[in-house]
Every structure is written in C-alpha cells, then in structure tokens.
C-alpha cells in the first residue's frame, strides 16, 4: 500500500462561485503558418484567443472575479484573500491582486498576492485558498489563474499561446456549488520551459517538453490522486487537464484510461489556445456550466519547471441554480472576432513604433 499523500483540509471546502473570461479576438493557427512556414505543416489547434489593446491579466481577472462573485452571492467584503496566478503579470513589481481586489470591492480587509509557477500558478492559488478556508482562517478566499501568454514570433508556441482564465471563490463546503474532496501535488526540477528575468519571450526544451515533463507529471499526479481517493477513471463524469495543444490532453487522458466523452467538455484549447495559468481552470468552468449534482470531476494542471496539481471535485445541488447568475464560458468562446497576423502583431505590441 503506497503512502497516502492526499491533501485534505480539516474543514470541508468547495467552490462558492466560479467565473471565466476569454477575450474576443481569435488568431487562426493558419495565419501563423501563412507568415512563418508558407502555410506548410500541421496545426496544433484551430485558433487562439488574443487580448485586446486595453486588456491584460488585471482586467481579465477583474471580469472573471466579478462572474465568480455573481454566482456565489457572497459580498466582496467577506473575502480574506485575493490571489492571482499568472506568468503575464502586467508589472514586474506591483501586485496584480491589489488592483483586482480594489476593483471588486474586496479591499482593504484582505490578503492579496500574486502567484507564479508557469502554467499551474492558478491551481496553486486554489490549493492555498483551500488551506486558508479549510483551516478556518478565512470564510472566503478568491483564487484566479489568468494569462496573456507570450510566444516568440515564428516559434512553435506562437500558434497556441492564448489569453484567458478563470476565478474561483473558495468557501465552506456546506454552501458550495462544487465540493473539493482532496488534492495531490507532484513537483520535480525539470527544465522544460523558462523565461529569464527581463526577457520578453520564453524558451523551451523542444521534445523535452513531452515525456519527462507534461506526461510524467500529469500521469503521476492523476494516478496518485485516484489511488489516494480509491477511485478509477469510471468514477468521474468529467476530466480536465492542462491543455498546451489538442494532442497532449487527449493522449494523457487515453493513457490514464479516460474516454473522449469525459474529456471533450473541458477541452477548449482548439478554440481559444493554451491559456497557461488559466488553461485547466477555464476548461473546468465549461464543465461546471453543464455538470449535474453528484457528478465527479478530475482536474489536473501542469506547470513547466515542473509540477502538477490534481483535484477531485464533486458538483452539488446548488450548482444548477446558481450558474446562470453570470455568463457561461461558451458565451465567451463564441464571442469571436477573427484577426489577421498584422492586427495580432499590433495588439500584442510586436510592432516597433519608436
């Protein structure tokens, strides 16, 4: 019998509210191929979401947080922590979280902090919030994963580096829309992807990003969580993984023994790209938009560097009544304005104007 490393708070915790945000612009992957490969080669996704000139992780987090609060019905003044996980914080030094907290009305009696861990900064914030609420230190804590991801022009990541994410208000399980059975984390020092200080674009270890990084960490985290909770893939109605492209989450799901119909509801990457710290989380919001009471959901994030956080979740009877209090995730996915590479270059600040 393996040692049980499941992380569970003393007091049961769940999501009191959840909310997504995805910007409206879409850059088709075929546009990137048109510019850089003469249209040759396979495409990892259909298109990716791109933030507008007036959007960044702060503004996107504010809207997702407002959606989460609307679904919860909890006054912002009762929030004791506002935590934002991202690798695209607008400032190098000055918190994203204080602006978000101010805008939603959570200031001043609150903790506020920014989290970083490549693509899993958001799920880390959720785990910390589980601890905050689960220990009784706070009644409510807000955790957000949001990114406007960077991709060097012409690099493989430029096809997929998207924008979007989600916010989750953690609170007591008794009044939650979805409860958290437990979580498990798996982390090692694996140099598959990084961005040095003051660099604009990240570097990645080519094929090294697959087997020893994404697959190893997600598979171990998911299997360990299922072992610790005595569950199998058949116990889950839905599963959502970190989604760097369409192929990886489908393959890791199949390797773990999940069927495609368990994966597809939360698989948004073909239409919005890889939203980094928001990737698994925004997929989870699409699942919560349709899940029924009692449905179990497995979520596994992945962050380069590297680590995975796995969560076992269960929808409650309150979910169906509360979800219509904010726009569903599909509304954001379908709010779509296609742009060409030139407009993309302008929106993402890739043009030198002085």
């Amino acid at each position: 019998m393996p040692e049980n490393h499941l992380m569970k708070p003393n007091r049961p915790v769940g999501f009191a509210g959840y909310g997504a945000y995805i910007p409206q612009f879409r850059l088709p992957a075929s546009e990137v191929a048109r510019i850089w490969t003469g249209g040759q080669g396979g495409l990892p996704i259909k298109e990716k979401a791109v933030a507008g000139l007036d959007e960044d992780v702060i503004t996107m987090s504010i809207e997702a947080a407002r959606n989460a609060l609307a679904r919860s019905g909890v006054p912002a003044s009762e929030i004791r922590a506002v935590w934002v996980g991202s690798e695209s914080h607008p400032y190098a030094v000055k918190p994203t979280s204080t602006v978000v907290a101010e805008a939603i009305g959570a200031t001043p009696h609150t903790q506020a902090a920014d989290w970083e861990f490549a693509c899993k900064a958001g799920t880390e914030a959720i785990q910390a919030a589980i601890g905050f609420v689960g220990s009784g230190m706070a009644e409510y804590a807000l955790a957000i994963g949001m990114d406007t991801a960077q991709g060097r022009p012409g690099d493989a990541l430029e096809y997929t580096a998207g924008a979007g994410g989600a916010a989750f208000l953690l609170g007591p399980a008794e009044t939650a829309l979805c409860t958290i059975e437990g979580s498990y984390s798996f982390a090692t020092d694996t140099p598959d992807f990084w961005r040095r200080a003051n660099e604009t674009y990240p570097e990645h270890g080519e094929r090294f990003t697959g087997e020893p990084a994404y697959f190893k960490h997600i598979t171990t985290a998911a299997q360990s969580l299922m072992e610790s909770t005595g569950t199998t893939p058949d116990d889950f109605r839905y599963v959502v993984f970190h989604q760097p492209n369409t192929k990886f989450p489908l393959r890791v799901g199949k390797d773990l023994g999940f069927r495609e119909d368990q994966i597809e509801t939360g698989l948004l990457v073909p239409e919005i790209g890889n939203t980094y710290a928001g990737s698994a989380l925004v997929g989870l919001t699409a699942i919560l938009d349709v899940a029924e009471a009692g449905d179990r959901i497995l979520m596994v994030s992945y962050g380069s560097g590297a680590g995975s956080d796995a969560f076992s979740l269960q929808a409650t009877g309150l979910l169906s009544a509360r979800r219509s209090a904010a726009p569903d995730t599909l509304s954001y996915v379908r709010r779509r304005t296609e742009i060409d590479y030139a407009t993309y270059a302008r929106l993402r600040g890739k043009l030198v104007t002085k």
């Binding site: 959007e55 702060i58 504010i62 101010e102 805008a103 599909l330 996915v333 709010r335």
Partner: protein, 136 residues
C-alpha cells in the same frame, strides 16, 4: 497625470462607485459630495450597476497624449440606467456599428500607461452587452 490623482480616483474609475443623495435619492456620478439637484450634502456611497445605453458617440482619430497607441477608438456618452450621463470609451465592438440607444455594460479596462516606466491606469469603459450562448 500625477500618480496621486489616479490613486484618489481609483474606486470610481475601477467600479463606477458614485453617491446617492439621502434627501432626494438622486444617483450621482462622478461623486461630488453635494447633490447637483437639491443642493444637500450627498456622501452616501452608491454602487452603480454598470448597465446603460449609448446616448451619443463619436470616433477619436487625433488622440490626446497617452492614448495615441489605441487610436482610432470610439468614445461615447452613456446614460446609466440609474440616470447619470458618463463619458467613456467603448470597447469590444469588433465590426459592430455603434447606435444611439445601444445597450452597453461597464467593464474595467486599461485606459493608458504613463509612458514605458510609469503606472498603468485602469478604469471603466463600456461594451455591447454580452450575448449568452445557449447550452447545446
């Protein structure tokens, strides 16, 4: 604009926080502490819903300093559903034409940056109300 002024205006700018007159119940934005209607003191905080409609609009091509990177951009006077008229940029229009009476909602967006090294300034803009997708 100086940092202190951005800081002073943050709540009204980020979230449309205004005032309501305790005497005549007029909703006031921006907050001015004196009711423009009855002249009594009005310091009670009021959170506007953010919903309104376009009262009038134009497009800015010759943008003032700090906004040139965004031009051209639509600018509107919005009638909030609680009454006040607010001047603000419209956003997320895509190719949608602006029409007088168009229902809009407030979003908090980046208004400008104070140069490469200065602070980022956030505040209200309005966008067409988000259409809800029907679950299939």
């Amino acid at each position: 604009m100086e940092t202190s002024r951005h800081w002073r205006l943050r709540q009204q700018r980020y979230a449309l926080v205004g005032e309501v007159c305790p005497s005549c119940e007029l909703k006031i934005f921006p907050p001015r502490d004196i009711c423009p209607d009855c002249g009594n003191e009005a310091r009670t905080i009021f959170q506007f819903s953010g919903r309104g409609e376009v009262y009038s609009h134009t497009t800015v091509y010759q943008a003032p300093a700090g906004h040139t990177e965004n031009s051209p951009y639509p600018l509107a006077i919005v009638r909030l559903e609680e009454g006040p008229l607010v001047t603000a940029q419209l956003t997320d229009l895509a190719d949608k034409p602006v029409e007088i009476g168009m229902p809009v909602e407030m979003v908090t967006r980046k208004l400008r940056s104070d140069g490469e090294r200065g602070i980022l300034v956030y505040g209200y803009k309005f966008r067409p109300r988000l259409a809800r997708a029907e679950q299939s």
